[in-house]
Subunit: 341 residues, 2 copies
């Protein structure tokens, strides 16, 4: 597909804490900025009035989905029990090539389970991984996995490095991404058992491996790709969110203290807004699920319309930059390396 | 020991990136605020002029230590090879009851190795843990382990919960601390293998266990004690440090942009200072090593004199609040619970 052709995105209209309205709103906002075809997947009746409200009736397609997978459901069970849910319908559209990508702010586990069940893994991939962009002093880097796999083996981390490298090349336009593994010290002797083993695999690989990175190095812009298991990545990601919220809280309290501070607060509004913007997950769009046969972008359940809009942009970019093909290629060329492990 | 008696602290004068000067300075600053007896452990000749400079010659004791353990040395080997190093000498002073507590900003692993070798673990403790205070919206909570153990078994996490509870009771004056285990979702089915097993042990324990906490909950003041393995805790702690540094960087850049912003920056200096103070590790003093027979407070290698001063305060508090005895008691009363595991 060339840059001119419209990317077709299946959007889970029922996914997320504020769905379907926030999703419809995101589609409307996105259409102002991007050239794409949206297929809103959800309950027709529930979407009708919203499409009118946002003037989208003629501008997007609707694909009916009778059911919704709820947050507390067990992913695999739910995906099997609800084949007509919005998440599964999105995946099926991808499977039968009626869509080029999917975006969902619904149940992350269910998106993953549905993608594995209907699309399957790319050849050679043992485990898919969720990747996020993390702000750094001078831009951003990527962190993976942030929740797809809680217990990883060294080979999984090795593959995350390869997939992350392919992602950074195609999506961050970084020709020779520096790849690091998250650990508790710079020395190669530092880390837990899995990290130590993964480190020695990565050392031998034909990638730009810079060794261990510590928690504080993530933001130092020393690396482009940070590899970790999904447990650590998820905890870290949510810790970062909590941190930003806490700082916002501190500052807004402080600004209320007296009139002088109130004025200064007004003067600084833009600065703080800029700073917070850099730390704001919504700016970075959704988190791609790497390693499955299709572009699947997962959004936070609390996503705003801006966050979903940015995820839609990521989906288009992933399709145009041939992200899936690049990951497949990267794993293929390293098959002999992996077989030797 | 009652509140009136002077706590005797062995201070590793040679530990930390800016030792010995920053340590001597910390001792001088601390003596203005606290009633304690300091034994500076380090090379006599190297300390002489500094003691003069800070007017401490008559006010602190010096205990000579011929050697220093360097940051890159393997902990156990170094402790055995350098029995006259400042770290080992501090531990020996504790062992022979010439000091009530030790404070070191030196090699964390070496402090731990020396403590294990010379002091030993408290009865029933399988692994010691390093605990830190973490700022929350409305105060602080504690997080452990942050680096003593990289690969933990469920029983280790269970014991960290007990030690954390004892710490929160004695040091945070929290009568019934809420204990949570760090995981990737609130539901008890979420987590990696070790966390899931530890969760089920903690559920059965006679503690105020509130279940899983996520990364973002740490700052929400929902719990008083957060338990995790030392790998995750260490990564998180350093990530937090990196975050604070990045925000400071953003803001100081932004303030320079124009004269109006410069003025606003001046007006807001105090606010930002306050906010950053809440996030500043130096405010929270050192990190106690729990589970060994003695009060051992570990400081960050980059500690300022203020950080070391605050660590000295923590050491005094730990001695006065009978932290070690409380941990011992807590494990003793739960011995039958643990034997049943």
């Amino acid at each position: 597909m060339d840059g001119e052709e419209r990317v077709r995105i299946a959007i889970d209209a029922m996914g997320g804490d504020r769905a379907p309205e926030v999703v419809v709103q995101a589609a409307e906002e996105a259409l102002k900025e991007i050239h794409a075809e949206f297929i809103l997947v959800g309950h027709k009746e529930r979407l009708k009035d919203l499409l009118k409200k946002y003037g989208l009736t003629q501008r997007v397609k609707v694909h009916h989905a009778e059911e919704v997978i709820e947050g507390e459901e067990q992913p695999t069970t739910a995906v099997k029990a609800k084949p007509c849910s919005s998440i599964v319908e999105c995946v099926k559209l991808l499977k039968c090539r009626e869509a080029d990508a999917l975006v969902s702010a619904g149940h992350t586990g269910a998106v993953m389970a549905a993608a594995l069940l209907y699309l399957g893994k790319l050849k050679g991939v043992q485990r898919p991984a969720i990747v996020v962009r993390v702000p750094t002093k001078s831009g951003s880097c990527i962190l993976l996995d942030v929740g797809a796999n809680v217990d990883c083996r060294p080979l999984h981390l090795f593959q995350f490095a390869l997939m992350g490298q392919a992602y950074a090349r195609s999506m961050l336009h970084c020709p020779n991404p520096r790849v690091g593994i998250l650990s508790i010290g710079e020395e190669k002797t530092k880390g837990n058992e899995v990290v130590l083993k993964a480190h020695s695999l990565l050392e031998k690989a034909s990638i730009n491996f810079v060794g261990n990175v510590e928690g504080r190095d993530i933001m130092d812009a020393r690396v482009d790709v940070v590899v970790c298991d999904g447990f650590v990545g998820n905890v870290l990601l949510k810790f970062g969110e909590g941190f930003v919220q806490m700082i916002k809280g501190y500052l807004s309290e402080a600004f209320k203290e007296n009139i002088l501070r109130r004025c200064a607060g007004l003067l600084l509004k833009d600065i703080l807004k800029d700073a917070m913007k850099k730390l704001d997950y919504t700016e970075y769009g959704g988190a791609p699920l790497l390693g499955v046969k299709g572009v699947c972008i997962i959004c936070h359940g609390i996503s705003s319309s801006k966050a979903i809009k940015n995820a839609l942009k990521v989906a288009i970019e992933a399709k145009r930059e041939k992200l899936i093909e690049r990951i497949e290629e990267s794993l293929k060329t390293r098959r002999w390396e992996m077989q030797a492990l």
